[in-house]
Symmetry: C2
Subunit: 172 residues, 2 copies
């Protein structure tokens, strides 16, 4: 079996989005135990001009969804970014994982040399070869937002460990 | 050209380690401007039981060095983890980038099906196929520590943006 673009993207996204969902469960449990309004956690940010937790989760989901869809050569469905509760964010993550399973792996595998055009902010467009887009744009962005969501919750005092971030356990 | 294990690992590590080095330059400039002892930044952590900035940088470098070396089938050189200054951490990052360039890309490309054995903490050993080790252990761990180093500095008030994290600019 050869090493492929779909192999580097789809399973990694699924593992990490499911891990993020389980991390949100721990955030909900912490909020309930400490009688904290969960929206306080969702609005927490590490710096005033960084995204809050809810937005980090939305962007992580969008990095996976939009990145994979563009590599597959299809238009990704748009999400409204209107989640205000942990349950809604978990539904967004689950919907994204379900969507990833609908994508054509062969189309993703064939995209290494194809030019991908993608938005950079509200007006600019980026252009990269498919393999560079995956390795040097989608993956670092995706892990950036997953990690920062985790970091925000660690900073809030929630007991999480690297295994929560990694998702599926390593074979010992 | 086919999509390869070395392509997913080596250039990504080099870009992000160089980005981290440039981020440390901005931390040093911030410390000088604000008359802050840089070691205060190096000892900052987001939570009492998370690694501090210096350790995040060391571990990011080790994820790249050890992960790539194990995939190439060679024993990675050991670092002493004795850096106490920003300049020493930047030298560690530069040394790691130089080391990555010495690895045999063909050996890394041929490692997808080979079992990789790696330490999990001080006593346990992990075992994964090369492709899973890269996709589901090395990459998420590497980006976790790069991101958390960035997040610590954002939390300290240093002006950084996503482009600092991403390293090389995207082609517009």
């Amino acid at each position: 079996m050869t090493f492929s673009m779909s192999q580097v993207s789809l399973p990694s996204f699924e593992i990490s989005l499911n891990a993020l969902s389980a991390i949100l469960d721990k955030a909900a449990a912490y909020a309930a135990a400490k009688k904290i309004d969960p929206s306080v956690l969702l609005h927490t940010r590490l710096s005033p001009n960084m995204f809050d937790l809810a937005r980090q989760v939305q962007v992580a989901a969008d990095n996976a969804k939009n990145g994979s869809a563009r590599l597959a050569g299809v238009e990704p469905p748009r999400d409204e970014d209107n989640e205000t509760t942990i349950d809604q964010l978990k539904a967004r993550l689950a919907r994204t994982v379900t969507y990833l399973k609908t994508l054509d792996r062969k189309a993703i595998d064939a995209s290494a040399e194809r030019e991908i055009t993608f938005p950079l902010g509200p007006e600019k467009k980026g252009h990269m070869k498919g393999d560079d887009y995956l390795n040097h744009f989608v993956l670092p962005n995706f892990y950036f937002h997953c990690t920062t969501a985790y970091d925000i919750l660690r900073h809030c005092g929630i007991e999480l460990g690297k295994r929560d971030f990694m998702g599926t356990p390593v074979t010992l």
